[in-house]
């Protein structure tokens, strides 16, 4: 049994985890629920040695203890399985499962045949019979990768196993397969903590539910005592009616011709998607991680290539070979991960200015150096980028300021359509409000804004129109300000929760 008492963790000024008490019991599946940024991952990190809590105690089997590193946790019988397993792709399944045989102090490695035999026995004990131990890891896909990681974690016979969104990118059948293995672990007396957004599937397996919100624990009860509907209201903080000030600005879009139109577009990770975005609109695309939202945006800007369907921009059919072509007609994109967007080694100024470089020297961008410098200053001021001076390196800025930097870069290209993928992911509340205000004022200026978010509240609050993506399809189109429960229900493919 592992217990956390009063666990607190701060990052800079942000309290990510606020005096959380939690008890995880052996032989049970505990579901850890909450929106992105609610503090679930931070809690797991504190319980598994990845983070040192700033306050509170960890108690293992009644004795207080400190976990200084993930390795400490592993020795204490605590293992974590991450969303995207890190594997040696060119090695066999067996070699990956017994990777720890190469750790310092481990006994000498077995031969290939011996390793394969041992792996087969180990997998069979977990009820996994369709994995070939000798297969190359790079040929293993989907749920089987998670199963290999689980098998690897179980070599050390852990007593507590954390699964961080293990099924986020899995289909239903694969997800069921994974949960069968989890049931087997429970029978063996392992404590399993499951983080997942897919409530229906989670509820089919969990014994106990813990809900996090804004860094606090807001609910903690056996599954039987906390029905799905109540869990959802805890997750979202109750379905509050929107205050008028928060309501999206009304923009008549019915008569406007669409700026961007997708007609039955299919591509890698999504299929048969049709929707339109008009100038002055804020279209919010809601969907879980792995639902295909980002893939749709990437296909539109030409980062990947749609397989079929028609894409129209400003009335004309278009096909972009790469994002540079999309930018030239006025489509700017702010990627989801800052890792794939920030030029970390370069200055703030350079990062914003880069937006001028895609459009070609003459068209679209301010001509002279002085004009560009003025434009960069103006954008920094408009986005309230907090940097001591424009020449410091972007890597030294906070996450929120890096995000503003990226929006400034996109705006420097004077786009007609701005696509933002998770524009407020991991930024603090104040910055989030600033980014929201900016998006509203851009729409008011006549820019078409399309944003993607896994935070349902944000979509409901900000969007003039809502699209919900589930398993690669747009499953619903709702007006802005729709009830949070409705959007959530479509998100989870859990239409029965939907009222009316």
């Amino acid at each position: 049994m592992i217990e956390g008492r009063g666990l607190t963790k701060r990052f800079g000024g942000v309290v990510a985890l606020d005096t959380v008490d939690i008890t995880i019991e052996l032989g049970k599946v505990t579901a850890l629920l909450g929106e992105n940024g609610a503090g679930k991952s931070t809690l797991v990190a504190c319980l598994s040695g990845a983070y040192q809590p700033d306050g509170g105690d960890l108690i293992l089997d009644g004795a207080p203890m400190r976990l200084r590193s993930p390795d400490d946790a592993r020795r204490a019988g605590i293992a974590v399985i991450h969303q995207e397993p890190q594997m040696l792709e060119e090695q066999s399944v067996a070699a990956n499962i017994y990777l720890a045989r190469l750790a310092p102090g481990a006994r000498s490695g077995a031969g290939t045949n011996q390793l394969n035999t041992r792996a087969a026995e180990h997998l069979a004990a977990l009820g996994i019979r369709d994995l070939e131990p000798a297969a190359k890891m790079r040929n293993i896909k989907g749920a089987h990768r998670q199963l290999v990681e689980i098998a690897r974690a179980l070599v050390g016979e852990p007593r507590v196993l954390f699964l961080d969104e293990p099924n986020a990118s899995l289909g239903e059948a694969e997800s069921a397969r994974l949960f069968d293995v989890v049931r087997g672990l429970r029978e063996r007396g392992v404590a399993v903590v499951l983080i997942s957004h897919r409530l229906r599937e989670v509820y089919a397996i969990a014994d106990h539910v813990v809900v996090m919100r804004d860094g606090r624990k807001v609910a903690d009860a056996p599954t039987a005592e906390l029905p799905v509907e109540r869990a959802i209201s805890f997750i979202t903080g109750g379905a509050k009616p929107l205050a008028p000030a928060q309501s999206p600005i009304a923009v008549g879009n019915d008569n406007r011709p669409p700026l961007l139109e997708l007609a039955d577009v299919s591509g890698p990770g999504f299929a048969h998607v049709s929707f339109r975005v008009a100038a002055g609109e804020i279209v919010g695309m809601s969907g879980l991680v792995g639902s295909g939202r980002t893939e749709i945006a990437h296909a539109v800007i030409g980062a990947t290539h749609p397989g079929s369907g028609v894409l129209r921009f400003a009335g004309a059919p278009v096909h972009f070979g790469d994002p540079a072509e999309a930018l030239r007609v006025g489509i700017a994109f702010v990627p989801e991960g800052r890792r794939e967007a920030v030029f970390y080694g370069q200055s703030v100024d350079f990062n914003i200015r880069a937006g001028f470089w895609g459009t070609g020297e003459r068209d679209g961008a301010p001509g002279s150096r002085v004009e560009r410098t003025q434009a960069v200053r103006a954008l920094m001021a408009r986005l309230q980028v907090k940097a001591p001076d424009p020449h410091i390196r972007a890597a030294t800025l906070s996450g929120g300021n890096q995000q503003k930097l990226l929006i400034a870069r996109a705006l420097s290209a004077s786009p007609r359509l701005l696509i933002l993928d998770e524009p407020t992911h991991g930024v603090d509340v104040g910055t989030k409000r600033e980014i929201h205000d900016l998006m509203r004022s851009l729409a008011a200026e006549g820019i078409a804004v399309w944003f993607i978010s896994s935070e349902v509240e944000e979509v409901v609050e900000l969007a003039t129109r809502i699209l919900v993506v589930h398993q690669g399809r747009v499953v619903a189109e709702l007006p802005g300000g729709s009830p949070i429960e409705d959007v959530l229900a479509y998100n989870f493919g859990e239409v029965s929760v939907r009222r009316g």
């Binding site: 800079g12 000024g13 800007i301 980062a303 790469d322 994002p323 540079a324 999309a326 930018l327 030239r328 700017a332 994109f333 990627p335 991960g337 800052r338 890792r339 794939e340 967007a341 920030v342 030029f343 970390y344 080694g345 370069q346 350079f350 200015r353 880069a354 937006g355 001028f356 470089w357 895609g358 459009t359 020297e361 150096r369 907090k386 001591p388 001076d389 020449h391 410091i392 390196r393 890597a395 030294t396 800025l397 906070s398 996450g399 929120g400 300021n401 890096q402 870069r409 996109a410 290209a413």
Partner: protein, 342 residues
Amino acid sequence: MSAVADDAPERPNAIPGSRTPPMGGGHQMRALAREWGSELIVLVVIVILGGFVGLGNPVFFSPQNLLNILQAVAVVGVAAIGATLVIISGNLDLSVGSIISLGGLMCAIPMVGWGVPFELAAVIGIVTGCVAGAVNGLIVTYGRVNSFIVTLGTSSALAGLALYITDRHPIEMPDSSAWLGQAELGPVPVSVVVLVVLAAASQYFLARTVRGQRITAVGDNQRAAFLSGLPVRSTIILAYVLAGGFAAFAGVLQASALANAAPAAGAGLVLTIIAGVIIGGTSLLGGRGSIIGTLLGSILLGILSNAFILLRLNPEIQVVSLGLVIVLAALVDQWRMRRSGG
């Protein structure tokens, strides 16, 4: 260095609203150190090394000797300018040595064979280098092959081609070519003037023009550049074309200086060229570096080899010292980057 580079690792963020540097002299000094830190360190090392060599043999300080050093650096320095652009773009060009040989030959052959005037023949040589660079760039970008492998291959292929077209015989350069590599402008050799002018122009290109800054952006974070709508492929190809052009021009310069275009003229120069780039503070991971740094790095290596002559040291030790300087430069750079917070 791969054709499709992985994302740069996320570096730890500092505390939001990190402290504002005080204004005034201290601020300017810090800005100078931030912008030109690597170059200043190389400059300081050059001064210290020069001081020691001069103490051992006062001839070192004579203007004639200093100009000799620069003249000896010219060929390697010009080729290193192009190599810097490729390395900043996050790639590598190992074929510069072979292109030096080829550039010299493709200048000599039209002159000797068809009576083409030197200036036009030089352009033919340079264009040949640009074409070779374009081939490198096309394979790296459209073929998505690691640049190390691609240019290792083309380096061998071009070296073989140079031997094949000349049947291993060097070609003597007509006297009309001598002005570039042998003449002087006042007291200063023409080749030194050319080196300095090209370095200054390339530094301007890299730091101030759109196409130049795209090279830095692509090398810093290729995925970010792609998603931000920068033309990643044409940027990398441009870097290779320039690298080929500069290397071929270095070959012309060398042929002119030696009055002789040899099929293996550039064969041993790759290590020195890339060493100069790295010593000058350019990151092999891409995204960081300058032409001024490369110039200083190449000069540092030139002083080192000059020192071995003036101090009558064992020339075998010079090879050892070259290796040590490369490793030392990389260590100093790592230490500096860690101190400056990622």
